[in-house]
Each structure stands twice: as C-alpha cells, then as structure tokens.
Amino acid sequence: MSENDLTGIFFYHPGNGHVSNLDFEELIQFSGTFKHVAVVWDSEKFPLWDKKNLESEIRKFNLNRLVIAGYDTGMIKPFFAMVFSTLGIPVENILLADFMEHGALDKSYTDLAKAIVVCGIYNVPFEDAAKPGESDVCPDTLVIGGGIAGIEASLEIANGNQKVYLVEKTGTIGGHMAMFDKTFPTLDCAACILTPKMVDVGQHPKIDLMTYSEVKSIEGHPGCYKVKILKKARRVDLSKCIGCGTCSEKCPGKTYSEFDQGTTLRTAIYRPFPQAVPNKYLIDAESCRYVQGEKCGVCVKVCPVPDCINLDAKDEEVEITIGNIIVATGFKVFDAKRAAQFGYGKYPNVLTSLEFERLINAAGPTGGNITYRNKDKKGNWVFTTGADVPDSVAIIHCIGSRDENYNAYCSKVCCMYSLKLAHLVKEKLPEAEVYEHYIDMRAFGKGYEEFYERIRNEGIHIIRGRTATVKSINGGLIIRSEDIESGRLLDQKVEMVILAVGMEPTDDARSLAGMLGIEVDKYGWMSGINNISDSVNTRSGGVAIAGTCQGPKDIPDTVVQASAAASRVLQNIIKGKASNGISSLSFSDIEKRAKELSTIKEI
C-alpha cells in the first residue's frame, strides 16, 4: 500500500439537533487501530471552519481519503470538499459514514456505529456489508390496522392469492378516511371511493378480518411469527347479526360516538357507522348498563335472531402463525385542548377539523348542515338540526404542528384539508365569509397547487398569519391575528372556528414498536431502515410499516406506501425467503464482510 492511500477519519457530533449519548471516545479509539488510518479527528477538538489549518493537516498526514463519521455528516461535507478540491484530491474520496442513515441512534448502537465506521474505512457500501441472512417464510401475512393503508396492503396481498389476517382495534375497518367528507384535491367523496374497498376486504376469500381485536404478543423470527391476538368480546355474534338495528333503538346506554368525533351520541350496542365493515353491531362494555352491573338486557329481548347477543361473552385469544407483518396503525389527531389559547373545549363553536368533517358529512350529526353547537338539557354539547347557520367561519392552520411548544414537525395535510373545508363551507353556505389563517401554504402534491388557486378564486379570504388567540365575546368568537402581507392586526368576529389539528403518533405506537423491534423517532413515529431509500422495511426484517404510523402523509402517499409494503411481503412469499433484518447481525459479521469486500489492501 502506498503512502497516498492513507485515510483520515473525522468524527462529527454536532451538539444541536441530535440527542445522542453515543460514546464517541470509544469510537475514536477504535478507529485509530486501523493501520491505514493516519489520523482521527474529533469535531469538538478540531478548529472546524479553519481551512488553512485543515489544508496543512491533510498535507501533514498525506491523506488521500477522508471518512466523515457521526451525525449530520453531509452538513459539513462541503467544507472538506472545498479543501480537497483546492488540494487537488478527488472529492469522491470523501465518504460519509452517517450513523443516522443506518440507524445508530444512541449508546445501545455503539457496535452498529463501529460497523458503519468500518465500512467507511474499508470503502464498502454499508448495505453490502450488512447483509442479513434469510429464513424460510410462512406464506400468511398479518396486517395490523384497518385504515386505508391496512386495507390497501391487505387487498394487494390477497389479490396475489395469499392469506392475510387483518387485525383492527375498533369495530370496523375504514380508519380516519371513513370519517372524512370529501378528499382533496379532486373532492371525491371519501366514502364513495373507500367503501367499495372496505366491502372488498370484507368479502375477500383470502382475508381473515378480525375487528375489535388487538395484537397481544409476537414471538418468533422473520418468516415465522407466532402471534397472539386478543379478540375483545363483541357480545354480538357476527355470523348471526343481520344488522337490523332493533337493539340499538331500544338500548338505554348512551355515550359519545367515537366515529362522529363526539359530535353525536350513540347507544351502548352500536354499529360504528352505517357503511361499517363488518356491518354488524357490537356492545361497548363501558357504556352498557348490563356489563356495568345494572339491570338491563333490553337488547337480548328485542333481538329478532335467537342467541345472537350474548351479554356475558368473554374476550378470546387466538394464536396464528404468519410469516410477514405489515404495521399500519395510523395516527391520532392532536388534542386541541393542549393549546388553550384557541379555546377548544371552552367555547362550543370552536371545532377540530375532524369534528367539522363529521359535521359537514351527509351522514353526520346534522345531515351535512353546518349549524351551531349548543348545550342540550343534559349538558352535552350537540349540534342541533335546523338551527341557525353561521355566517362566518375561520379556519386556523398549524394547530399543534410546526410549533416547538407542541410538535415541531409539519403535519403535511392540514393546509390542503383546510382548503378543502373552506370550499365545502362555501359550497354549503355561499353567503358565509370564510377565512383561512396560515403560515406557509403547503400545496405540494399533484393537482394541489391548482386546487389552491381555485379556492383562492372562490371568494375565500386566505390570510397569511397565524392566529394567536380565540376569545368569546357576546356569543361570537374573536380571533386575533396579524395579516402579514398588509402588516395589519386583525380582530375578526366569526361565529365558528375550525382548528386544523395536526397528526400525532398513536398512544400505543411505542409499545407496539417495542414488541416488533421497530425503531421510533423522537416523536414516536415508526421509522424504516433508511428514511430516504427505504422507509418501508424495518430493522427487524419481517416487519414492514405503511401509512401514517411512519409519519404524517396524505392518502395517495399512504396508499403508495401500503402497496410498497405489500410488495416487500409478496417478494418474500414468492422467493420463499424472508430477510432476517439488520438487527440479527453482529458487529463482527459486518466487519468480516466489509474486509472481504474491501478493495483497499491492508498494510
């Protein structure tokens, strides 16, 4: 080996951004042991922006290659590239060994970090060196979550003639999309495009649909998992229920409807919504008088089918064997009560966007009429049909998103659905004034910008400037914001405020991810192997993620990701082999392979 092939390593650990307790000292010591590594620098002890110094250092050690290891390595690459190019060393010889890219997030991944550095030192692509082994695969698949992502993934696999178990926590599939009224930017009615898919799932001979069920435990390895599924007591026999609804008419137990976002009341024995799949009733233990120990049982008496309702039914547990798992658990909406300045929960006519989706939906609480929310006799907040209609509605963007007090990330869809809601308000109430208060209008997808243009021309007031407060005055609401483009302060009196709430990971995302060996990011979104080149596969091999459990996204992106996850599963099934996942590899495996593949000869 000639002197020219000496490698330098620069460890970069920026203090901001990444909260990592990775032991850089150990890594620095470790990388110094390689013979062709001439020098190891530590960013904390290196005069980073001094080009003259770097030039002389490179000359001193006669470096020809440089590995930048650590976090955000790309961020400083141009600095080294500028120096390399002035010294006449090929810039391609700067290699990034990014810990973030390959998933070495904290101290528990020190070995992985070492492996990443070794690949850099040997000039071997990490994915070539870190190639996990494969196991035989069981052809059945488990899909967790029955929203649009789960539906799409299940159909995709089942259409390939493979068995799918679809496990859904609630009583029906459909997820959030079923709650929407219209979808942007085509204004397709969400139910019109979704319900046929739901029906397909319900009828597909290859899909075993398990609603009102949860995954309890998972054992095994990629290609063969034994999964215990808790089937919560539905108390209504799915095979017997004819969905007539007589039970619900007579049921005395009342509670807020989850599907309608609490805008309506439902009975204890209920069907989540009229197009639910399976279109059968179930009993919610919390609000059922009988289950809560009171004397009841009306539903059993009125049910026309004998032995259909069994109020004493118990939860069941089933075990299935599957080879691949797709996680599509979705998101939850930001709890608007956390941002008290907007008055949600305090003023009845401050609504979240999802509540408004229900309100404006033809199947919603008022049959699609926009009315005020009032207190009824029992003190419940309900929308009353036939009441007055608001003549001014404000939509406030970025509630709980792009805000370092809550969630720093952008929820991606709020701008577009807000525009859609504005359009729907204008359509239903042509006389009403509609205001949109936004920071940056993020109309990014196909046809979105055109949609934005169209809404702008519909007479909707689109105002740049975040609203700071919502207050109540004389029954109306006063929203305060700055109109940034004219530089004026606006105190607007409106009658209804819609808060465009962002997306958050579901409450059980972390525990499920832990059970499956999936990484979650600092917010709780699940992450794939690599956020750029592979956001679907996960470290644990047999598990793929799809949809909004990976991060906020719109419906097309969700559908695409679901299909992508299904592709991974189908590929495994067709091959008959499943990858064991990076987490199955040890440091020495990767090091050994990197050495074998290396084109750099050791001294």
């Binding site: 085509t186 204004l187 397709d188």
Partner: protein, 141 residues
C-alpha cells in the same frame, strides 16, 4: 315560455366522459339540456346514432372525443372526425341546420371547457329553435 332544447351527446369513455365527470366533481354549473351517452370511443359514433337522435326528437347532437393524438385507441377520434364532416353535409340535405351537430375535443382534464361547451351549444340550439325535422316526421308517421 322559453324554448328548452333537448340535446343528445356522445362522449368517449376515456377523455370526454371523464372530463364531464370532472366538471361534476368540480361542481361547475351548466345547462340541464344535455343527455349523455357513454361510448368507449368517439370512433364508435355510428352515423345512425346521430340520425336516429334527430329523428326521435333531439334538437341537437354533440359528439366529444379525445384531442387529436390522445385517443385511447390511437385514432378513433380521426375516424369520428371524418364521419362528422360527412354527417354535417348529410343532415343539411335532410333539412336539419348543420349547426345542430357539433364535434368538440374534450380531454379528461377539461371539466371547465366541457361546462362552457355545454352552455354555449345549448345557447346555439336555443337560438335555432326546435328542430323542424321532428314535425316533419310526426306529420308523416
């Protein structure tokens, strides 16, 4: 009382029908005088269809297809265009004003153009008044 014409329209499935659907999803408003028949291609528009429509009482016939070069079946719209010119001459000989038959290219993204077309064509027919051929046929049958 204003004359409200009845117009039969033949739309190709891939471009024009989709364009008409788009006019709907975009809630563009147009005159309610049109009756749409979906065909797979404007090339399927048989001269008989047009003549029968007039015979049975249509005041106007509108044919829409994909823009030249965009035909889902490569060149069906060109075939249609040829028949259209021929038909125009033919109906004139029958005593029907040639303006009552119209061909227009509407793509899948031209919802707006579709709505505007319907409005302007309806207006044209309204100005022409009821089709005289109807009375002729009624008299002789």
């Amino acid at each position: 009382m204003n004359f409200e014409p009845t117009i039969i329209s033949f739309l190709c499935n891939w471009c024009s029908y989709t364009g008409a659907d788009l006019a709907g999803t975009a809630r563009m408003k147009y005159a309610p005088n049109i009756r749409i028949i979906r065909l797979m291609c404007s090339g399927r528009v048989d001269p008989t269809f047009v003549l029968e429509s007039f015979k049975k009482g249509a005041d106007g016939v509108l044919i829409c297809g994909c823009h030249p070069g965009d035909c889902h079946y490569h060149e069906g719209n060109y075939k249609c265009l040829r028949r259209y010119h021929f038909l125009k001459k033919y109906i004139t000989q029958l005593g029907i004003e040639p303006e009552r038959l119209h061909l227009e290219w509407i793509s899948a993204s031209e919802g707006k153009q579709f709505a505007e077309l319907i409005n302007s064509f309806t207006e044209t027919i309204r100005e022409l008044g009821p089709s005289k051929i109807k009375n002729v046929i009624e008299t002789y049958t």
